[in-house]
Homo-oligomer: 238 residues x 2
DNA sequence: CGCTGTATGGCATTCAGTGCCAGAATAGAG
DNA sequence: CTCTATTCTGGCACTGAATGCCATACAGCG
């Protein structure tokens, strides 16, 4: 689709304006209703012609998901460039996606409300997560022999996306709640724990990696006692 | 009253005709192309009026996926009636879905080709599998405490669906190949092996079961900070 | 200045999808 | 069998998404 340098300069200007259009559209969708809002209406309130709206976004739905598409491109490029082992890469990619949502609640939160209310939009949202899932399993497959994604790769990608979406939905319902990232990391950790034996040894054992702490304890244990034991366990292993 | 008998007689006739319409539409889609085929065209070749097509199917896409929707209803009703433990039930439900495809290659195979070629249709197909996934995790949640589906339930449902789709795609690419059901059962077995410790583990006993704490943290994190996070995590879950 | 490539806007058209209404088919009651 | 209520169907008109075509405005380059 043409040279990159030109695109960057031009695209920069375009994107600023594009974001304004998206925000205006989101406002119209929530205030007037999605179905009731016409592309002609968006054109009128934004000053951009109806025809140009279709040229930029492709469709009415794509106005809502334009930012999402950009994010997807970013994530794919990140995975291609990442030198880490594939499982670490896709987990980081999932974190990137999550960040893409959390960073931009002005769009993602009202969009979530719209998505919940309209089947068509819900399908579109689901299709996006499916694209991520496909990209993830594809990445896992490429760095584990190439060819078509294996059963394991697809299952791990699906589990990862499901965990991501689980935490994400919680945040979308209550964007003000604290400790999102802790919840996210815990969810990722659990999927890793599940995926590890199935997929491959997730750890290389270098110095800079994440560490995993797993504690199994009877439900009757006191909070203080539990923390004391965890502390000593951490001390033992450095 | 009489709604069942009436419906059965009437519905039976309708469905026979409906199936013919779907088959004719599939033929048109594959021969003339999906976009090039208009609802007016389908109406002409089937003898059913354009208006009635929209009434029966709702949309052009829904002509292709009409059978699929019926299958979904069947699967949901099966799960509601099943007395087996939830994990067994959803696995059986997945088998039911798989059977729904394999039993009717006349529609599912050409549909698969169409789905691969057109983004819109692909989204629709993906939305269907997402509906199954939601139904599965919902079933797992209902029979494990009720309320909103837990992370585990969603991850297991996603993994199950992913495995199902993996085997299904293999069959769709080559419907004549032998040993589909063996492949299906093996895939299900692997997911169960993976899901077992994650899903059934925490659900084992009454009040006395073990709890699992998983923490993932960068190796550079301070001891005190780590313990603080662990403490808050423990507090959140009780 | 002219030339070329590109983004935009206006116009017309196709087609999916919906509301409205009239007519046909059918079930049920007498 | 007849009358009636309900339901299914088809025709008609309309909205709006989406696309193609063409003219215009604006950039860079000689």
């Amino acid at each position: 689709m043409g040279s990159n340098g030109e695109r960057a300069a031009r695209g920069g200007q375009q994107r600023a304006e594009t974001r304004e259009v998206v925000l205006a559209a989101v406002r119209l969708f929530t205030e007037e209703g999605y179905e009731a809002t016409t592309m002609a209406g968006i054109a009128e309130t934004t000053g951009v012609s109806r025809r140009s709206l279709f040229r930029r976004f492709g469709s009415k739905e794509d106005v809502l998901f334009a930012e999402h598409d950009e994010l997807f491109e970013t994530v794919v490029r990140y995975m291609e460039a990442s030198p880490e082992p594939p499982l670490d890469t896709v987990v980081s990619a999932a974190r990137l996606v999550f960040q893409g949502y959390v960073r931009d609640p002005e769009i993602t939160v009202p969009r979530y409300r719209l998505v919940r209310a309209h089947d068509r939009l819900r399908d579109r949202e689901v299709a996006m997560t499916a694209r991520y899932q496909a990209a993830f399993s594809h990445h896992l497959a490429e760095h584990a022999g190439g060819g078509r994604p294996s059963l394991e790769a697809e299952v791990v990608a699906a589990a990862l996306i499901a965990a991501h979406n689980h935490v994400l939905r919680g945040w979308l319902r209550d964007p003000e709640a604290e400790g999102i990232w802790e919840r996210f990391d815990r969810a990722m950790g659990r999927v890793r724990a599940m995926a590890g034996p199935l997929f491959e040894g997730p750890r290389g054992g270098e110095g800079r990696e994440d560490r995993v702490l797993v504690a199994v304890y009877p439900s009757g244990v006191e909070r203080a006692e539990l923390l004391r034991r965890v502390a000593s366990a951490v001390d033992e292993r450095g």
